[in-house]
Symmetry: C2
Subunit: 440 residues, 2 copies
């Protein structure tokens, strides 16, 4: 899962606040140049060799568990000294079982088809020209991300499988762990006969390195910010390198007129409570006026699960015994990332769609209904990366949707939309073969 | 074919130079809002109805030929008075035969498959969740373009077929013609029962309207600049709306060691001379040292066709009797857009690839060879939108490659690469259907 919020101190840490010194520019340029060379080798590497390298990296991580855990202990100790919250420390922690999970993710990537070389379209034209539109790697992909060190391994793996070299800039909270992970990955690449420079960190460039990445036009093909809202906004606003905007999720769950409590309650609990900090957690509940009883059951269950309800007057009236906060305009637009939910009663599916169009960030919207007509109208009316029918919003996730790991969840329409897996790190190239053809 | 160079006066005309007044912002916002409404209708319109509308528009253009030609005469007269060159006037001119061509292009679009609703990927997951990744329209597409009025019809047609509403900002040189074309298209849309606001011009907003389009974040989903280098650079630099960079073409033609003159001469002539102003015309000729005889034949033929040769010393030595200009560093980087070509002798295919990587704008590169190994190395080594083997570079064109008309030729890697037809004006949406599924 991609986006959890950075504490503001982490944000400052991830992207810095001032102009980068020339040496960060030089460092990024130098590594991006080596990444470009490595990307040429990767682009021509067979699936067989890439998969073998992924499996070897997984084995190397497990074989070096104690080295990783020692490095991780340094980050954890520093985190504790800095008063980092228990939940952030937990996200930062790597143990034997989590390292085995990293290996498992790499093995899953190895099992997925290779996107590179896919013939996306092809035909022989009436004049005999032979056309193929081939899927090819982007080249050099930069990622600016937050503390969780498993992201380092996920992105290295997705990059390798999709034939891209990656430049990584992680948060300093995980710097020691990330440093060791990158070392192990690079050693393993070398042992597999692939260029180590396919995976490089620029963490030693300090805060300025993130700024330098954003200026590296022509050196970095795509920059993906992976983190909380402020980090993403800062990168989208500042970067001159192409960016895919990820992870901002003001996610809506709509209970249609016929929504059944037996279905709606577990979905709402899962969508809001299972992991409230992530981008695919629900932030607003819209209840059709005819589904008042189901709405009441859902609100009661959420309240009992510790969720603060920010309700409009009609929603509050559904649960007279439950304490609620009054919903304001700001609530409709807020991605809480916490155990809070905004609640509104609407008179029709159309009114729900209007609300969603106004406040959605284009990530995920879900409907609970048994009506085919409502399902169809909801799918048509929602302009978001994912539309979910009768399931939890938490399924908008590369792993859950069968893409393997993910680089992030795109909330934009250009290039990639929704979870970004292997295909989303590719572009295409037209190959035109003739026999002396000229245009008349 | 997309990009021909704007005279600098036309550039100033197309994008303006100063801040837009508030009323241009308001005009663009108001029309983009209506376009959004229209796009919702188009997104749900069946292929059958879209194709019927395309055919009806073609018929309406032919039926209104005299109205179009009268309007065109106004633009032509103004152009003559302003001293516009004969070639630009020719590009501006519409007559019965060209109007019939416009109709033909719309009918070709109608014959193409509908990209909307295509299931790009789909599966049922082990847990029973049903996934489909559907192709959907982008929504509202803005195009800022140059004088040729047929672009107005092409883009309206591609927009309609791909379910997108379009906002058009054409150059003032063709303003009267464009105005009448948009009127006829809108009348025809209404007669077909589709929203007229699917096709709107903002030409009446003056130069400021282009600037306003670039600021219309959230109102316009994609902005495509279609014209010469300065127009494109200005839009890429200034726009806060997502832009696809199009049309800059420093295109290379490489004659491999075994290149045969019988094949190389016609390809080089076609690539350079047929229409030197367009983006897929060749700008640099690279000749393998072992192909000196073929190189000499090609240079002689180009010279005889009126092409000015900007040659390095070794290339000049191939044609001792032919006057050449000395090639400078600037020549390698120049897209002449005219009867000029830079020529260099290289010692290997690898040296040609290095030259191309250094100076290419990522549009199109071609090789003339009979060697499978060279073909393979060239395709692998070139990082451009199109790689052409034994054919003219002029084939990088949406119409030629079977995409129907094109919005432009993308030279970037994100979102779309190469000629942008119907598919390139779409995005995708994940539809996830469950039966009360929650994530564990």
């Amino acid at each position: 899962m991609t986006a959890t919020h950075l504490a503001s101190s982490q944000l400052a840490d991830a992207v810095g606040g001032s102009e980068p010194p020339a040496d960060a520019d030089a460092l990024v340029a130098e590594r991006a140049g080596r990444a470009r060379e490595a990307s040429r080798v990767l682009a021509a590497t067979t699936r067989q060799d890439k998969d073998a390298a992924l499996i070897a990296i997984g084995a190397a991580l497990v074989a070096n568990s104690s080295r990783i855990i020692e490095a991780n202990a340094v980050d954890l100790r520093r985190g504790e000294e800095n008063g980092t919250s228990a939940s952030l420390l937990d996200r930062l922690r790597l143990d034997e079982s989590r390292i085995a999970g990293l290996r498992g993710a790499l093995e899953e990537l190895a099992a997925l088809p290779d996107p590179i070389g896919e013939v996306v379209r092809g035909q022989t034209l009436p004049n005999g020209l032979r056309l193929r539109q081939l899927r090819v790697p982007l080249g050099v992909v930069g990622v600016i991300y937050e503390a969780r060190p498993n992201v380092t391994v996920d992105i290295a793996g997705i990059g390798l499988k999709s034939g891209n070299a990656v430049l990584l800039r992680g948060g300093s909270a995980a710097a020691t762990t990330n440093g060791v992970l990158v070392e192990i990955i690079r050693e393993s690449l070398t042992a597999s006969g692939l260029p180590a420079d396919a995976v490089q960190s620029v963490d030693d460039g300090g805060r300025a390195a993130a700024q330098s990445m954003m200026r590296a036009v022509g050196l970095i093909d795509l920059l993906v910010p992976r983190g909380g809202r402020s980090l993403i906004q800062e990168v989208v606003r500042s970067s001159r390198v192409p960016v895919v905007q990820t992870g901002e999720g003001n996610v809506h769950l709509y209970l249609d007129a016929d929504a059944d409590a037996a279905r709606a309650v577990p979905i709402a609990l899962n969508a809001k409570v299972q992991r409230p900090s992530v981008c695919n957690a629900a932030e607003t509940l819209l209840v059709h006026a005819a589904a008042g009883e189901t709405g009441a059951a859902v609100l009661t269950a959420l309240f009992q699960a510790g969720v603060r309800l920010h309700a409009d007057e009609r929603a509050a009236a559904l649960v007279p015994g439950v304490p609620v906060l009054p919903a304001t305009e700001e609530d409709w637009a807020t991605e809480y990332g916490d155990l809070d939910i905004a609640v509104r009663v609407v008179d029709s599916l159309e009114e729900a769609l209007e609300h969603i169009r106004r406040y959605s960030t284009g990530h995920t919207e879900a409907i609970v209904t048994d009506s085919l007509a409502s399902q169809r109208a909801f799918i048509r009316g929602v302009d978001s990366a994912a539309v979910i029918v009768n399931a939890s919003t938490r399924f908008t996730d590369g792993g859950q949707l069968g893409l393997g790991a993910e680089v992030g969840i795109s909330t934009q329409k250009m290039h990639a939309r929704g979870p970004m897996g292997l295909t989303e790190l590719t572009t295409t190239q037209w190959i035109v073969e003739g026999d002396g053809h000229v245009r008349s």
